[in-house]
């Protein structure tokens, strides 16, 4: 048997290479050369991002266990950029004395979750998929619990791992039933054999909730705010953007490629989930004082919006989905970036701490503001375009009422985003947060995000490029 075809998995291999190099570096490098660990790591990863960003011809290897389509390159690149930004933001946090020795772990764990997502995305078989899923989530638990001496962090870790395993076991049970009813684990075969018998529907639901958990849709979202609050900010941002992004893409692919036959069954499910997620999350978000929790809820409602793209199941929807993830990544990471910069300096995450931030930190508050506006879908920022396209994709399939409900929710979301902006710009504060100077990598990350938010919408190339390779059933 010829294994050379495996070499086609360039993204995975190059990432693996980066990981191994870093691992070796971390273990064997001396005290002096260790100083350069982070720069090296960042450069390596950036190189990896650049090298793997060119889409190739679609191919299957390992008998269809690993299926590549060009679209995946875009998704993986988006994830790479996101990870890069997160790593840049984490730079300072990792240079603290307490974490100095743990930097290697941090990178290794983060990148292994990324690798897991790669496999999840490219998988053509449930076994591969499940392995990917777990590879993506188990290291995540350790990351969440990264800060050993912090009660909150430990609690968050426990909550995450317990819920995650609970979810994945249910999901696994679902997969087993799918196997039982179809006799195969290959997506292509299942697609034809999956006819929608009651047991199969049951199996589908059991399986799907595992993904819903990852995307944290209501009512599978309850872990999200706690974990987001407890975990270290950069990890939270990673959690909220990267793993969620991967999961939504996979959800779309699976629903379209594997469960296309029962579209009439899963569309109502997504419909309901979208409505509930958006509304409940918004209503919760109104009250949040801790900004990390606040962003957690906002990300839940964003996930709800993403479903509007998935529900259409069209190529348009796929393109809009990926585009949305791209924009969402920039916006959310910008917000988290500001958050982490300020938290690392002052340890303040309460909304009231941000009162009058504009007086002392105009730049940071500006970035925060455009990030929030973009999340709220306000032009000329990218968020507006991504939202519009998603609504358009849904409307094209005739989901006017759903779009309408979603739009009414944008009012609520605008309200709470404005609360933060109000805090920063309007509210007076006699002793606001002192002038914060963010370190160089964080600066870069924020600049990248800002530029992204500014231009990704107005310049249509991004979307059109994505649209070229988008696919549907």
């Amino acid at each position: 048997m010829d294994y050379s075809s495996f070499l086609q998995m360039t993204e995975e291999f190059s990432l693996l290479a980066v990981m191994v190099i870093l691992l070796v570096y971390d273990i064997f490098a001396g005290e002096k050369s260790h100083r350069y660990f982070q720069p090296v790591a960042l450069i390596l990863f950036a190189a990896h991002t650049l090298l793997t960003c060119i889409p190739r011809e679609a191919f299957n290897i390992a008998g269809g266990m690993f299926q590549y389509v060009p679209m995946q390159t875009y998704v993986k690149t988006i994830l790479n950029i996101g990870t890069l930004i997160v790593l840049l933001q984490a730079h300072k946090f990792l240079n603290d004395d307490s974490n100095y020795i743990k930097r290697g772990e941090f990178y290794f764990l983060t990148l292994s979750t990324l690798l897991g997502m790669y496999f999840m995305i490219s998988s053509g078989n449930f076994l591969m998929f499940f392995i990917g899923l777990e590879t993506a989530s188990i290291p995540m638990a350790t990351l969440v619990a990264f800060d050993k001496y912090n009660k909150k962090s430990a609690e968050a870790g426990a909550k995450y791992i317990l819920s995650a395993v609970f979810a994945s076991s249910i999901s696994l049970f679902g997969i087993s039933l799918i196997y039982g009813t179809t006799g195969t684990l290959y997506f292509n075969d299942i697609a034809t054999l999956f006819t929608g018998t009651p047991l199969q529907l049951m199996a589908f639901v059991f399986f799907a909730v595992g993904l819903f958990f990852k995307i944290s849709l209501v009512p599978f979202h309850l872990w999200t705010p706690d974990v987001y609050e407890g975990a270290q900010t950069n990890i939270t941002s990673y959690l909220s953007v990267i793993s969620k992004g991967a999961a939504v893409f996979v959800l779309f692919t699976l629903l379209v490629k594997v469960f296309g036959n029962i579209i009439s069954d899963w569309q109502p499910i997504l419909y309901g989930l979208a409505v509930v997620s958006i509304t409940v999350a918004n209503v919760f978000a109104i009250r949040q004082q801790n900004l990390k929790r606040f962003l957690a809820f906002s990300s839940i409602s964003q996930a709800g919006y993403i479903l509007l793209a998935i529900i259409s199941g069209t190529a348009l929807g796929m393109a809009s989905l990926v585009y949305f993830v791209l924009v969402y990544m920039f916006s959310n990471l910008a917000a988290f970036g500001v958050l982490s910069v300020i938290e690392q300096k002052t340890g303040k995450v309460q909304m009231t701490d941000y009162n009058g931030l504009y007086q002392t930190n105009p730049k940071l508050s500006f970035v925060m503001m455009i990030a929030l506006f973009s999340l709220a879908g306000i032009p000329p920022f990218a968020g507006f375009f991504s939202k519009f396209f998603i609504f358009s994709a849904a409307a094209q399939q005739g989901f006017y009422v759903l779009v309408f409900i979603a739009l009414l929710n944008t009012i609520i979301s605008l309200y709470y985003y404005l609360l933060v902006i109000k805090a920063m710009f309007l509210n007076a504060n006699e002793n606001p947060i002192e002038k914060v100077t963010s370190d160089f990598p964080a600066k870069i990350s924020l600049v990248i995000c800002t530029i992204g938010i500014m231009i990704v919408g107005i310049i249509s190339t991004f979307y059109n490029q994505i649209a070229v390779f988008s696919f549907s059933m």
Binding site: F126, L127, F130, I131, E134, I138, A141, T142, A145, K148, Y149, N150, K151, K152, A154, E155, A156, G157, A158, K159, I161, L162, V165, F166, S168, S169, I170, L172, F173, I175, S176, L177, Y179, G180, G183, T184, L185, P225, D226, E229, G230, R287, R293
Partner: protein, 112 residues
């Protein structure tokens, strides 16, 4: 009744296995929801995972004798379960270090 006969005569029908796995699965869920001790919760999760594994094996053995997919999946699943447990245990230890207790009820600092 005839199920019992078949069992006695050595050939166990698939339903029996599935019954067992199903019971294990929901027992696990029940355990997860009801136990107070984190370790016991972990054990319950193991139950759920293993139930799934049994399913795989049984389906493969009875319905699709020709192939090996189910068996392999089961193996992988067991391995993964092991990792999960390891990590979970580690975190639980961490919890114990912080709270000097492994009561799940104590993990409620963050809420609302």
């Amino acid at each position: 009744m005839d199920i019992l006969n078949n069992m006695l005569s050595g050939q166990v029908p698939i339903e029996a296995y599935l019954g067992v796995s199903l019971i294990m699965f929901f027992a696990g869920i029940y355990g997860f929801l009801s136990r107070k001790n984190l370790l016991m919760i972990l054990v319950s999760i193991e139950l759920m995972l293993n139930a799934a594994d049994i399913n795989f094996v049984v389906f493969n053995r009875y319905l699709y004798p020709g192939q090996m997919e189910g068996f392999f999946f089961a193996l992988f699943a067991i391995a993964i379960a092991a990792c999960e447990t390891a990590v979970a245990i580690a975190i639980i230890i961490n919890i114990y270090r912080n709270l000097t207790s492994v009561e799940v009820g104590e993990l409620d600092e963050m809420k609302e």
